[in-house]
């Protein structure tokens, strides 16, 4: 199902068409009202001020007030309805991108880029829903103003209608170099702020090596360069604003000249002259809006294309009930990056250690967790082929927990309970989380923030291990679960892991002697194939390569 940006944008608009139409109708009322205000001022001057008729004054001031009520309310509710139409579209796009990021394995995009698509691109795409009604309304506003002008005087009307677009074009030409420049210069200007934030973030490092002066000097030079760039931009911006004032003023003078001559000749009334001047000012608004809307739609389409690039090839995740298994794991000729072909049988309830080069260990973890598929060979659990099971169903049977497993916001306890509800005491004890809880301010209720970065590495690893143990899957695959804990704790964890996984299949990818010593059997991979099998002690004795990898 491949969807391009245009299609995605259209769908996003169609889903909220009711609100877009309602908002467009309301904005149209607002624009019509705004166009009527200068017309009415002229009418008041003609019908009341010139004639001295108080009844006419009362009548036309009442009409003016009614127009204001109409335009004000139309704008108010048009904005509200349009906002809802945009926000709802934004919401569904954000969630769609997030869901895809969660469903799709092996993303080529970094998390930061995906988040920026989920926020920035979703917003720009949804913004079209909010902007489109403005465009419709601007068309009507121009139509009302044109009609009024042409009714008053055809030559004056034509002058204003035909003169405004070229004038806006001149303004656009004036701003083009500014836009080009400001993109680079904004970047340079933003650099000072960026470097300042970066230095402050690294303040402990700076203090540690006594680089306060060096850092300050570095910042000063960047700040100076930024300031110069910013001043250039400010100058260009001031130039642009000044030019706009000149262009608008000259256009107004031309309108006054032509209108004044027509009024003096009696072709139009004085009030109509005032209206024409007012309308010439008004038209700048809706005509200027067109450019903005075209830019918004172009931006929205480009953003929609980026979203479609992420969600377009979204794999449908078939839901299948997880099978009940004993936990017999079998690999046959299984291969991937760093793994040539592994044959491995793990009996149900067995605890095995696997020693492999870092790349091979990572590949095995991803294959067993169905994060990636083997390039060749098969993986089965209780004779069920991985290929026959949807990844989510497979993962509910085989849990592969990476060594840098992320924790999430919430208490330590909530994190451990994430995989399965129930009493966590046993997992907490096995993973030595009691020690962690003892030094945390609120024990197990302590909040974890920043994906677990509020805990030390050792604390984080133990909580992640407790979570994996508590999930109690039929097959548990762990990768380097104890790299950040001290030796005594590691030994205790090895014993706790054995006890907690009694009768359940467990594969530990590690080079830690303490964990390997606790395994029923150790499989040693070299050159991407199984090189040796046996107990940890046997392998230490007989295999120098194993010895070197484990004991260095």
């Amino acid at each position: 199902m491949n969807v391009d940006g245009g299609t995605l944008l259209r769908r996003s608009m169609l889903a909220h068409r009711g609100r877009i139409v309602a908002s467009a109708a309301l904005y149209t009322g607002h624009q019509a009202g705004e166009a009527l205000v200068p017309v009415l001022i002229g009418v008041v001057i003609d019908r009341a001020v010139r004639t001295g008729d108080p009844a006419a004054l009362g009548l036309w001031l009442a009409v003016l007030a009614a127009t204001f009520v109409m335009l004000s309310l139309s704008w108010r509710f048009g904005t509200r309805v349009g906002t809802v139409g945009g926000a709802r579209a934004d919401r569904s796009l954000r969630l769609a991108v997030t869901a895809t990021a969660l469903d799709r394995r092996e993303s080529t995009l970094l998390p930061g880029a995906l988040v920026s698509i989920a926020t920035g691109d979703a917003r720009r795409t949804a913004m079209v829903n909010f902007q489109a009604p403005h465009g419709v309304a601007a068309v009507f506003g121009v139509a009302v103003a044109s009609t009024a002008l042409l009714v008053m005087s055809v030559p004056l009307g034509l002058l204003i209608l035909l003169g405004t677009p070229p004038m806006l074009y001149v303004v656009k030409l004036l701003s083009a170099p500014l836009e080009r420049r400001s993109a680079d210069q904004q970047e340079q200007a933003a650099q000072a702020a960026g470097v300042a934030a970066d230095l402050v973030q690294g303040i402990r490092v700076i203090k540690g090596i006594g680089a306060e002066h060096a850092a300050a000097a570095r910042y000063r030079s960047i700040s100076r360069a930024s300031l110069i760039a910013t001043l250039h931009t400010a100058r260009a911006e001031a130039g642009y604003n000044g030019s706009v004032i000149v262009v608008n003023g000259l256009f107004l003078a031309v309108v006054a000249l032509v209108g004044g001559r027509l009024a003096a000749a009696g072709d139009i009334t004085v009030g109509q002259l005032v209206s024409a001047v007012g309308l010439a000012q008004f038209l700048l608004g809706p005509l200027g809006t067109f450019g903005e809307i075209i830019a918004a739609i172009a931006g929205g389409r480009a953003s929609a294309a980026r979203i479609a690039g992420v969600t377009g090839d979204r794999a449908s995740s078939p839901t299948a009930d997880p099978p009940a298994v004993l936990g017999r794991l079998r690999l046959r000729g299984t291969g991937g990056p760093g793994v040539r072909g592994v044959d491995l049988d793990v009996a149900a309830g067995e605890l095995i250690g696997v020693v492999a080069e870092p790349v091979a260990a990572g590949t095995l973890l991803r294959i067993l967790g169905r994060e990636s598929d083997p390039t060749h060979g098969t993986v089965t659990v209780d004779d069920i082929d991985a290929e026959d099971l949807a990844p989510p169903a497979w993962r509910s049977v085989v849990l592969a927990s990476p060594h840098d497993a992320d924790l999430f916001d919430g208490s330590v306890e909530a994190n451990i309970r994430a995989g399965r509800p129930g009493d966590i005491t046993a997992a907490v004890a096995a993973a030595q989380v009691e020690q962690v809880a003892a030094v945390l301010p609120d024990g197990l209720a302590t909040a974890v923030t920043g994906r677990g970065r509020s805990l030390s590495g050792g604390q984080r690893q133990r909580v992640a291990l407790a979570r994996a143990l508590h999930a109690d899957p039929a097959v548990l695959v762990l990768h380097d679960p104890t790299t950040a804990v001290d030796a005594v704790t590691e030994a205790a964890i090895a014993a706790g892991l054995r006890a907690a996984r009694t009768g359940r299949t467990t594969v530990v990818l590690t080079t830690s002697p303490a964990l390997l010593a606790a395994a029923d059997r150790v499989v040693f991979l070299a050159g991407g194939v199984v090189a040796a099998e046996g107990s940890h002690a046997d392998l230490l004795r007989t295999r120098p390569a194993y010895r070197e990898l484990v004991l260095s």
Partner: protein
Amino acid sequence: MTLPPPAPADADAGHRVLLPIAGPARTLAALRAMVLRHPLLTAGSAVTLLLAAALSLVTAPLLGRVVDLAATGAAAGRITGPVLLLAGSAIGQGALAFAGLQLISRLGELVLAAIRDEFVEHALHLPLERIEQGGAGDLTSRITEDVAMISQAVRGAFPEFVQSALIITLTLVGLTALDWRFGAAALLAVPVQAVTARWYVRRSAPLYADRRVAAGAEQQQLLDTIGGAQTVRAFGLRDEHLGHVADRVDRSIDLLYRVVRLQTRFFGRLNLAEVVGLTAVLATGFLLVDAGTASIGAASAAALYFANLFGPINTVLFLLDTLQSAHASLARLVGVTDLPAEQRPQHSTVPADGAVKASGLRYAYLPGHPVLHDIDLDIPAGSTVALVGASGGGKTTLAKLLAGVHEPAGGSIHVGGVPLAELDAETLRRAVVLVSQEVHVFAGPLAEDLRLAAAGATDEDLDRALRTVGARDWVAALPDGPQTVVGAGGHELTVVQAQQLALARVLLADPLVAILDEATADAGSSGARVLEAATTRVLRGRTGIVVAHRLTQASAADLVFVIDDGRIVESGPHADLVAAGGGYARLWAAWSAGRADHA
């Protein structure tokens, strides 16, 4: 790329002493002082903008003159005069606006840069203890969010605000000049506007603050969920996490609706002010023309004057809250720049060697909760010692005291015979360097990162340092070698690479004493071995104090100190401690259990 280090467990959240915020009077005084550093620029921009606004006032009377000429059926040729004046005034206004806006932006940018520079300079020289009391996040949010808020106000809001405010003031003057009664009529709108502005600003500031918080929370949740996608999948947490994201998005949307309702009501009330004022001005025109005291041209001019005020008035009132938020942000910056900087003596004797001697050291993050009790250490120059013990025992705190980053609550530290407290800043850093658990790669070229430690280092020096820590090969393989931009927004380095850079900085700083408290947790076991080998080479020829995470490091050290619960419970050479059969021996037994051939 910053991984915040674990907060010391006993000084954690809940006891935070946030950095101070300056009072409104102090904030304004600081701002005034910075503006007055540029008296000519200030006066120049004020005068030009005032002239530009004044010149814009001739537009309406000139149009009124055209109206009068047309109304009296004057010859068409007479209209050319006022129209030429109109054109001339447009050119004049444009030129003055160009000059004035440029001057005022210049002033704004200079003040903004001064605020930022002063803040960064000051933040770098704050005692680390004071920063940690508030949480480093507090300082970071001030340099990011508050500076961004002020920039937005200075660049976007301020020039527009000043321009609009001038136009409003002068228009009222112009209306009054036509006839004082026009001015009085226009003022009828002011009460409505004043009440509306008050009503709006009171509600908008907290609402916008909530919105920023909600946007931050949403961003954070997305990063957590998408960044932790593999874990989410492994534990089957997909739907739960989508729910979390939806909740955050809904919170943002709810606040957006509230903002839009507030803004639409705000502009609705301003529409009321417009209609009140415009009606009053038109009615006044009617009465004055009727009484023969004003011409139709004057009445038209007054109506046009007033209609042209709608935009500027809305702008001024709408920008009030941006300026208010910027003022609040400035208060948070001034609060930091008013803090006392770290005090260090100006001159000092240079330590003779890298011997470190500490006696009776005590420290507490919170009064009454000591984390170190009477620590005594005697480390001969040139030796390598290991600090060993469970996490939370005080190793990291001791490392910070020995590095002079924290000041002890009691006791003394001597380096090479000179008290640490008496070393001036420069001598201190040539004597002792600390590599903390925090891993930070500074954004910019990799070579610049390294030169923070030694500004004058040559390319050869950098190359030698990189080779020593085993980083030369991967640095050479980077797209632009050592000139590759790394850190935030640049080429992303692995945790191991980042720590190799930290070690390279130590080599370049070349101190007598290097204290290493690196976090190897994220490095994995193979990464830890790479770093251990690099550490050994870095410590050659200097005193090394290593917070040991793996006991192989301890076994290779000349001396081992075992720290538990803020006390040194055992100390001596590795072999002696193992033979003594105490806690360290048990630790070592556990560590080597799986390593013996006959386990």
